[in-house]
Symmetry: C2
Subunit: 429 residues, 2 copies
Amino acid sequence: MSANVLHPVPHLTTALNGPLFHIETLMLEHQSKIETWLRKEWLKHPAPFYTSVDLRNAGFKLAPVDTNLFPAGFNNLNPAFLPLCIQAVQAAIERLCPEAAQILLIPENHDRNKFYLESLATLHEIISRAGFTVRIGSMNPELEQNREISLDSGRKIVLEPLVRIGNKVGVKDFTPCLVLLNNDLTSGVPKIFENLEQVITPPPNLGWKHRSKSNHFKHYQQVANEFAKIIDIDPWFIDPLFRNCGEIDFKKREGENCVAKNVGKLLVNIEKKYKEYNIEQKPFVIVKADAGTYGMGIMTVHDPAEVTALNRKQRNKMASAKEGVDVSKVILQEGVYTNETWQEPDSVAEPVVYMIDHYVVGGFYRVNTKRGDNENLNAPGMQFEPLAFVEPCNNPNKDMSPDAEPNRFYAYGVIARLAQLAAIREIAE
Amino acid sequence: MSANVLHPVPHLTTALNGPLFHIETLMLEHQSKIETWLRKEWLKHPAPFYTSVDLRNAGFKLAPVDTNLFPAGFNNLNPAFLPLCIQAVQAAIERLCPEAAQILLIPENHDRNKFYLESLATLHEIISRAGFTVRIGSMNPELEQNREISLDSGRKIVLEPLVRIGNKVGVKDFTPCLVLLNNDLTSGVPKIFENLEQVITPPPNLGWKHRSKSNHFKHYQQVANEFAKIIDIDPWFIDPLFRNCGEIDFKKREGENCVAKNVGKLLVNIEKKYKEYNIEQKPFVIVKADAGTYGMGIMTVHDPAEVTALNRKQRNKMASAKEGVDVSKVILQEGVYTNETWQEPDSVAEPVVYMIDHYVVGGFYRVNTKRGDNENLNAPGMQFEPLAFVEPCNNPNKDMSPDAEPNRFYAYGVIARLAQLAAIREIAE
């Protein structure tokens, strides 16, 4: 497509792309087998309404690092592929609530965040164009009356106060049969959602209050093992190693030693794998909150000693997640280098893949000039530059090289769907 | 989208666009109502696997003139929207035969037609990329062994002889549970398809041997009436008037008078409508075979006398359809001017809209410099120039003018789905 000439994709550091090229080759070769297996899995349990998955591409390894069931960032997708989103929303709602004509959308409360509001506007647009009447009901207790907000994109959205009438939630004169949550309920499920007689999706108990990353990655490990058998690879190429500890209190310095000890063990295991595949980079571990999102409380560790040497400011940062929720558990995860770069050689790019139902509908890169290749790119104040995928992820082309764009994007879509499958099993549990 | 600048769409003659602008305005305004109604209809009976609909856009009127349940022409769609086709195929097969991994595709027998073969290759590509193993089994009795064909597009396809093993059809070592027909079985359902233990879609009895255009348009009339009530318009704006006669034999000149009489009545009815809406063009009638495709045996008539004044050559042409099948019944249909033009003012364009399942996945214009605005553009040897739609049909934009491209294409998609709904009811009958 000529669009590629205008919008080149980040290019992978070629020195290390041997194994990934191999994985992409196998994915392309076994595409029909992969898709058939995925379809069988979806028959057991349906996919959630939407999912976004953060990937890290090390060249020798392609792995998910976060799976979000209440995604934002829809405004970063390529507008050329909104029709794919629209079609997928139609399919999703047809399965979920076939008679629905109206949809209530419940957003995050941080409604002064202009990036989030742009995402909300795009989500509203997608669902409207799919042929539904959509209104936005905000749980924000500060919102006492309708608020129209003008966005930088020139669009306008209206937030209306969420109300409960009998066993239904809605906004004024609007209590539809289908409620779509775009709020990850970090602080738990509010009372207003108890015993509703409406379809509410994704279910409120999928909020981070009830999920944990270590449980998610336990399921992912199992999924990765099954998948690795299908295409006959070492599952490590798609699965980050991880460990977790029990309770931890960074402020009081309780549990630090357990973290340090496990970081040490994990580094040894990563080192072994690096030796097995002649990888010369330095292993590292990501320590992050076991529940939550927005990359608060995340650190990169190359040595167990770094954990016990944190200063007070760093410990306070590690201790707090979104909405002031305290971090009491952490997951220690193998750090995956990001070897995709964009324009300047030191500008790193991390793909984020979007799914609606089980359909991969697009994605974008978080591009960051100020961060290293071993750092998390989704952090507060991180100022990433979104770079929309130039091609969709569902259009692999066997006549092209396995690492040609459509096939690279297809590989992203496969790994993202494996992470989604882990979430599906988590939900079914 | 910037693509518009590079690929302008045919422009509508503006002098006559008043009523159409009105219809498009209403469609946009009632989009959610329209889509909800369509969704309810699809719950009663599912959509066929694929459908293409020929439309005529007169500026004052937008109507379907043919509905094909075994479409070709997939190669004429915009490659940028193949992902939409891929996703729709995934949804369609998930509903039809969720465990399918392999698909047998049965093409038309006119396998020397390079345009058809390009369409077949694209269809093969779409289904493969959707994650299925596809092979092509040809019913052509002349095909005794596998034949690889190199296409002008640089692609290759392999036709394999269709065989029956027990109660299944297949090709060598390949008898999948799902068989996809891309052959409209003009000559009837061959024995090889009797009592199959496979899912065969669309069902073979939907071939033209069993369908008639007048039955289709009887259902369409009903659909158009229901739809017209929803958006409150005169159904005539979207529905071509029609009449039919009993048996006719053009060669023996039997039944000619009935045709002439009914053409006269139809012209009077069209004239009335033209007067009601101050349309100054001359009414005309299309006389065509009541069953069949490929525009054989089609004529444009402005006066009943033209029917009885046919010379022998014209009568022979009217008497024969595809594969030498005799025409014994005709449908007389209100001619709809095509007022879309492309580049040169005398080059007319006719939209063709494609659906997979109930999803509108794209379309193209048949552009013809040598034909008039009252002539059929799908005729043998007609040499049309395909011009892919630059935008999909599922992405209406209320912030733009009702006749802006995304909204014009949305209107096409609505009317095409009304024609498909008529076919759905025809099938359910």
